[in-house]
C-alpha cells in the first residue's frame, strides 16, 4: 500500500493499526494522532493578485508508554515503512526516559466524545471557486482603499481557508475523529498623513464563507482603524484608568488562561498556583471555559487525549474555581481532568482551552468610556511582557486618549504596566459587548488604574 492509497476514510483504521503495532512492539499503552488538512490562501495587493497557495498535507504521531516510561515519534511518511519506523522509534525512546509515577492515559471511564453535532465543518467553502475567493479579497481591499483619501497604501487583502481532520486512537479502546473548516477575510490598509504612516487590520473569521462579514465591511473597518491612529503622540508618564477594547481585552484573558494551565500550576510557575477556592479577582469577574458550544472555534467533541470537552467555570464571581487540566496534570494535582488536553501530533499532551471567555456585563463600550475623565483606550498591544510566574505585566500599547469621557487623540509608543493580580482585582467596568470572534473572547474591559509609560 503506497501513501497515496491511504485514503482519508481509511485514516481511522490506520490509527488503530498503529496502536496495534505499538502494543505488538512492546508498548503497554499507546496513543496515536493523525491529522490531515488542506490550506488555501489568496492575497491581493493594490487591486492585483499577489499570492495564491493551495496544498495539503498529513502526518501521524505516536506516544507510547512502557510501564511508566514514555517515548514519542511522528512522521509525514504514511507508507508501511514510514509507520514501522515511527513505531520503533517511539518504543526505542521509551527505554531511554526515566520512570514518571504520574505518566499514563486517562481512565477508561473518562474517555468519550460529545455525540451532538458541534457544527465544526462545512464543505461549502471547499466548493467556492478560486476566482470568487480572489474576488472577496479584492473587494475587501478595494473598500479600504476607497474609504478615505488618507488610505494611500496597503499591505493587502486576503482570503484564507483551512479544512482538516483529526483522528485520535488509544490502546484503551478510544477511536474518534472529526473534521473542521474555517475561512477568513483579512484587510491591512496603510494610512498616511504629514509623513507619518500607520497600518491596522481587521478580519472576519467563520466556519464557512456564508457566515463571513461582507468583504466591504471588513475593509472599511480596517481603514477606519488605520486612520484613527494617524498623528499619534506619546503622552506623559502617569497612572490612569485603562479601557481595553474587545480585541485587546482578549489578550488579558489569554494570560489568565496561561496562568490556570495545569502544567504551570503543578510546576508552581503561575501566580495562581495554590489559590484554588480563593478570591483572586473582583467579584464581577466570571470566566468560563466551554469546548461544547456549537460552531465556535474553541469547540471540539473530545480533547487531544480522547476525553469529552465540557463547560468549566474557571473563575466564578472572583473566586478561582478550577484549573484547566489534562489527565497528567490532574494526577499531579490530585484532581480530575477537565478535558483540556492539547497537543500537536506527538509528545505528551499539554494544556489547551475550549472557548475561554469573560462573562459580559451590562454597559456598552461608549457608556464605559464616558465614565473616564482622563484615561487610555487601548486598541493594540505589542510585545511579550506578561510574566505568568510573578504576574508582572508590561506591554507596548497603541490607542486613543480619553479626555472627559470622549475619545480625544491617538497615542502610541507608550507602555502600560501593572500586575495581573492588581488588574484582576482592579476591574472597574465590564462591557456588554462579548463576541465569540476567536476561541478566547472578552468584552470591553476597564482597569481602574495602570501605569502608562511615556515621556
Amino acid at each position: 500500500m503506497s501513501a497515496a492509497l491511504v485514503s482519508r476514510e481509511n485514516l481511522p483504521e490506520l490509527a488503530r493499526d498503529i496502536i496495534n503495532q505499538a502494543i505488538a512492539a512492546g508498548a503497554t499503552d499507546a496513543e496515536c494522532t493523525i491529522s490531515e488538512g488542506d490550506e488555501f490562501s489568496a492575497s491581493v495587493r493594490m487591486g492585483e493578485l499577489e499570492t495564491l497557495k493551495d496544498a495539503g498535507s498529513r502526518g501521524a504521531g505516536l506516544r507510547v508508554l512502557i510501564g511508566k516510561r514514555m517515548g514519542a515519534s511522528y512522521t509525514s511518511d504514511l507508507t508501511p515503512d514510514g509507520i514501522r519506523q515511527m513505531v520503533h522509534s517511539a518504543v526505542d525512546l521509551a527505554a531511554l526516559t526515566t520512570e514518571d509515577p504520574f505518566a499514563g492515559l486517562p481512565e477508561p471511564d473518562e474517555l468519550g466524545s460529545i455525540a451532538a453535532d458541534l457544527h465544526l465543518f462545512s464543505d461549502e467553502t471547499a466548493k467556492l471557486p478560486t476566482e470568487e475567493r480572489i474576488a472577496m479579497a479584492k473587494r475587501g481591499e478595494a473598500a479600504a482603499l476607497a474609504f478615505d483619501p488618507r488610505i494611500t497604501n496597503s499591505e493587502g487583502g486576503s482570503f484564507d481557508s483551512n479544512v482538516g481532520g483529526r483522528i485520535f486512537a488509544n490502546s484503551r479502546g478510544f477511536l474518534g475523529s472529526y473534521r473542521s473548516s474555517s475561512c477568513s477575510i483579512t484587510v491591512m490598509p496603510v494610512a498616511t498623513k504629514d509623513g507619518g504612516m500607520e497600518r491596522d487590520y481587521w478580519y472576519s473569521y467563520a466556519r464557512d464563507y456564508h457566515s463571513l462579514d461582507s468583504p466591504e465591511s471588513v475593509g472599511r473597518k480596517a481603514a477606519e482603524r488605520a486612520i484613527r491612529r494617524l498623528g499619534s503622540v506619546k503622552v506623559e508618564t502617569q497612572k490612569v484608568p485603562v479601557v481595553f477594547e474587545p480585541r485587546t481585552a482578549r489578550t488579558l484573558l489569554s494570560s489568565i488562561c496561561d496562568a490556570v494551565s495545569g502544567t504551570a500550576v503543578y510546576r508552581r510557575a503561575s501566580f495562581l498556583a495554590g489559590k484554588l477556592g480563593e478570591k483572586i479577582a473582583d467579584e464581577r469577574i466570571t470566566i468560563i471555559d466551554d469546548g461544547t458550544i456549537p460552531g465556535l472555534f474553541g469547540s471540539s467533541p473530545f480533547d487531544d487525549e480522547g476525553v469529552p470537552t465540557r463547560r468549566t467555570p474557571v473563575i466564578e464571581r472572583g473566586v478561582l474555581k478550577s484549573y484547566l487540566l489534562n489527565s497528567y496534570t490532574a494526577r499531579k494535582l490530585n484532581l480530575k481532568t477537565t478535558g483540556n488536553a492539547s497537543r500537536g501530533i506527538t509528545g505528551n499532551a499539554g494544556i489547551g482551552h475550549g472557548n475561554f471567555f469573560l462573562e459580559p456585563g451590562t454597559k456598552g463600550a461608549e457608556e464605559i468610556i464616558r465614565t473616564v475623565k482622563n484615561g487610555f483606550f487601548v486598541t493594540e498591544l505589542i510585545g511579550t511582557g506578561v510574566n505568568i510566574v510573578t504576574g508582572d505585566y508590561s506591554r507596548g500599547a497603541v490607542g486613543i486618549w480619553i479626555r472627559d469621557g470622549e475619545l480625544a487623540f491617538p497615542v502610541s509608543e507608550v507602555t502600560i504596566a501593572s500586575t495581573l493580580q492588581e488588574m484582576l482585582n482592579g476591574i472597574a467596568e465590564i462591557g456588554s459587548d462579548l463576541e465569540f470572534v476567536t476561541s478566547v473572547s472578552a468584552p470591553t474591559l476597564m482597569i481602574g488604574e495602570m501605569t502608562v509609560g511615556g515621556r
Partner: protein, 476 residues
C-alpha cells in the same frame, strides 16, 4: 560532493532531468520563474522536568514546495509525497498563477560553489540518543546544585538535521545539510516560601554534539539560568517613562533585530509600508552605529551556506556609521526592484513561501570601555538580558522585554528590577546611541524570529551601548 551523491539524489533517486521536468511543468502556463525546494527534516527533543525525563520525541517530515513567479504574482503548492505524479501536480497548481503559453527558456541547472560554514561530521541528531539525554540531565543537576532556593528546573534539548535541495528555472542547483541544536534551561527559585522568580538561559548552533561537552556545557547554561532566577528574588519595581538605558553585550542585540532589521526587509520596502521605506542614504542612527546582517559566521544559529532560494548567504551592511545602506532581499523583491541578491530568502519549511529574513544581526564594536559606559550614567537602567521583542514595521514602533536589568545610580549598578518592556521608534531610537563599547558579543544561539506565521532560527549581537533616551514600561 556533487549532485548525484547528494541526499535527495541518493535517497530518493531524484535526477537533474527530473528537476528540469518539474520546472518546465511549473512554467507551463507562462510564469517568468519557478523553483523547487525539497526538504527532509529529522528532529528530536528531550524534556526534563522535576528531574524526570518526561518526554523524548523524534520524527521525520519531508516534502517539496513548488513556486512560480509571474510578474509580481506568486503561485505556491507543496506535496509531502515525493512521487513524480504528486510533484507534477503541485507544479501544475503553482503554475495556475500565470496565464498564457510558456515563454521562458529554462537555464540548464548548474551546481553552486561549495563552502561549508558548519563542517559537522556527525550531526547531534545522528548521535546516540542516550548521550543527549545525559547532557540534559547534567543541566538539571547543575541548576539544582547552584542554590538551595532553586526549586524547579526544566531542561529542553532539541536538535534537527535538515537536508535541502533547491533548483530554479534560472539555473541554480544547490543542496545543503543543515544541523542545528539547542539546549534551554528554565529555573524557578523562591525565598522562604515567597513568590517564585524565573531565570532562563540556553544556547547552541550548527555544531557537533561536542559543543555541549567542551564549548558550552550544560552546567554553563544551568548556572546562568539559576543565577538569573536568584537575582530576581531581590528585584524592585522597574521605573516608568523615559530613561537613559545601557544595554549589555550579546542577546540585547535583539534591539537591532526589532528596531531596524525587520524594517529593512525588502518586501516591506518594495511596498512602501516600512518606516524605513525610501530612506537609503539617510541618517537613521548615531554615527557610532554600524549594523550588519551576516549569514556566513561559522557554526552560528542564524548562518546558512545557501539561503532557502539557493543563493549563498553573505555579509550585508544595513547601517554604516548611522547611514542607512541597504535592504535584505529575497528573489521576488530583487527581481521586481532589480536589486542584487543578499542571500536573505528564507522559509520555515517546504510548506512556506520564502521571504526576506535576517540571519545574524549585530552592531560592530566601538571604542568605549564597557565599565566606563556604565560609570557615565548618573541615573538609568542597565539591561543585561531580554526575553522577546516585536515591531510594527509601518509606524516603526518596537518593544523588547528586559528579563534581567538593574538600576544605575551614580554610575553604579545597584538593585535588580522586575521585568519591564522597553519601547521606541525604529528610525529614531538609535539616534540616541551615545556610547558604543569595545565588547561586541554574539548571543548564545537561542533566537527564533517570527514573521507572518513563519519561524526561522536567527542570531543577534551587540556591544555594550548607551542610549540616552528610551521609554521604560515599569510601574515605579
Amino acid at each position: 560532493m556533487n549532485f548525484s551523491e547528494s541526499f535527495f539524489a541518493a535517497k530518493f533517486g531524484i535526477t537533474r532531468h527530473d528537476l528540469e521536468n518539474y520546472l518546465s511543468e511549473a512554467l507551463g502556463r507562462g510564469g517568468d520563474y519557478a523553483d523547487l525546494y525539497f526538504e527532509y527534516l529529522a528532529t528530536s527533543s528531550i524534556s526534563i522536568d522535576e528531574s524526570i525525563v518526561k518526554s523524548a520525541t523524534q520524527g521525520v517530515s519531508l516534502g517539496v514546495g513548488v513556486r512560480v513567479i509571474s510578474g509580481e504574482r506568486t503561485g505556491y503548492a507543496y506535496s509531502d509525497d515525493l512521487s513524480p505524479e504528486k510533484i507534477r501536480h503541485a507544479a501544475q497548481v503553482a503554475a495556475l498563477i500565470a496565464s498564457g503559453p510558456a515563454k521562458v527558456e529554462q537555464t540548464p541547472l548548474e551546481e553552486g560553489r561549495k563552502r561549508n560554514l558548519y563542517p559537522v561530521i556527525t550531526a547531534p541528531n545522528e548521535t546516540e540518543f542516550k548521550q543527549r539525554v545525559e547532557l540534559a540531565q547534567r543541566a538539571d543537576i547543575a541548576a539544582r546544585a547552584y542554590d538551595p532556593r532553586v526549586f524547579q528546573v526544566q531542561v529542553m534539548y532539541a536538535d534537527n538535521l535538515r537536508h535541502v535541495l533547491v533548483a530554479t528555472s534560472d539555473g541554480v542547483l544547490n543542496f545543503d545539510r543543515q544541523p542545528l541544536a539547542r539546549m534551554s534551561v528554565f529555573v524557578l527559585a523562591r525565598q522562604d516560601g515567597g513568590p517564585p522568580q524565573q531565570g532562563h538561559a540556553g544556547g547552541g548552533g550548527r555544531y557537533e554534539l561536542d559543543f555541549f561537552k567542551t564549548e558550552r556545557t550544560p552546567e554553563y547554561f544551568a548556572k546562568e539560568a539559576a543565577r538569573q532566577a536568584i537575582v530576581q528574588l531581590d528585584a524592585v519595581e522597574a521605573p516608568a517613562g523615559e530613561q537613559t538605558v545601557v544595554l549589555g553585550p550579546g542577546w540585547p542585540g535583539v534591539l537591532l533585530h526589532e528596531a531596524v532589521g525587520h524594517g529593512l526587509e525588502a518586501d516591506f520596502n518594495r511596498k512602501g509600508v516600512s518606516a524605513f521605506s525610501g530612506r537609503i542614504g539617510q541618517k537613521v542612527a548615531s554615527e557610532l552605529c554600524t549594523v550588519i546582517d551576516d549569514g556566513t559566521i561559522g557554526g552560528k544559529r542564524g548562518s546558512l551556506n545557501v539561503d532557502d532560494e539557493g543563493n549563498e548567504t553573505q555579509r550585508n551592511v544595513l547601517i554604516e556609521n548611522g547611514i542607512l545602506r541597504g535592504y535584505l532581499q529575497d528573489k521576488l523583491s530583487s527581481r521586481i526592484t532589480k536589486a542584487m541578491a543578499t542571500g536573505s530568502g528564507r522559509r520555515e519549511s517546504y510548506e512556506h513561501i520564502p521571504m526576506p529574513r535576517m540571519t545574524n544581526t549585530f552592531m560592530l564594536a566601538g571604542e568605549d570601555d564597557p565599565e566606563e559606559i556604565i560609570r557615565s550614567v548618573p541615573r538609568g537602567l542597565y539591561c543585561a538580558n531580554f526575553g522577546g521583542g516585536s515591531v510594527d514595521i509601518t509606524s516603526g514602533n518596537f518593544v523588547f522585554s528586559a528579563s534581567e536589568s538593574y538600576l544605575i545610580e551614580d554610575g553604579k549598578l545597584t538593585r535588580p528590577v522586575r521585568n519591564a518592556t522597553l519601547i521606541g521608534n525604529g528610525p529614531e531610537a538609535m539616534k540616541y546611541v551615545s556610547r558604543v563599547g569595545n565588547d561586541l558579543k554574539l548571543d548564545e544561539g537561542i533566537g527564533i524570529c517570527g514573521k507572518e506565521g513563519q519561524s526561522v532560527p536567527v542570531g543577534v549581537g551587540i556591544p555594550t551601548v548607551r542610549i540616552d533616551r528610551m521609554t521604560v514600561g515599569g510601574t515605579a
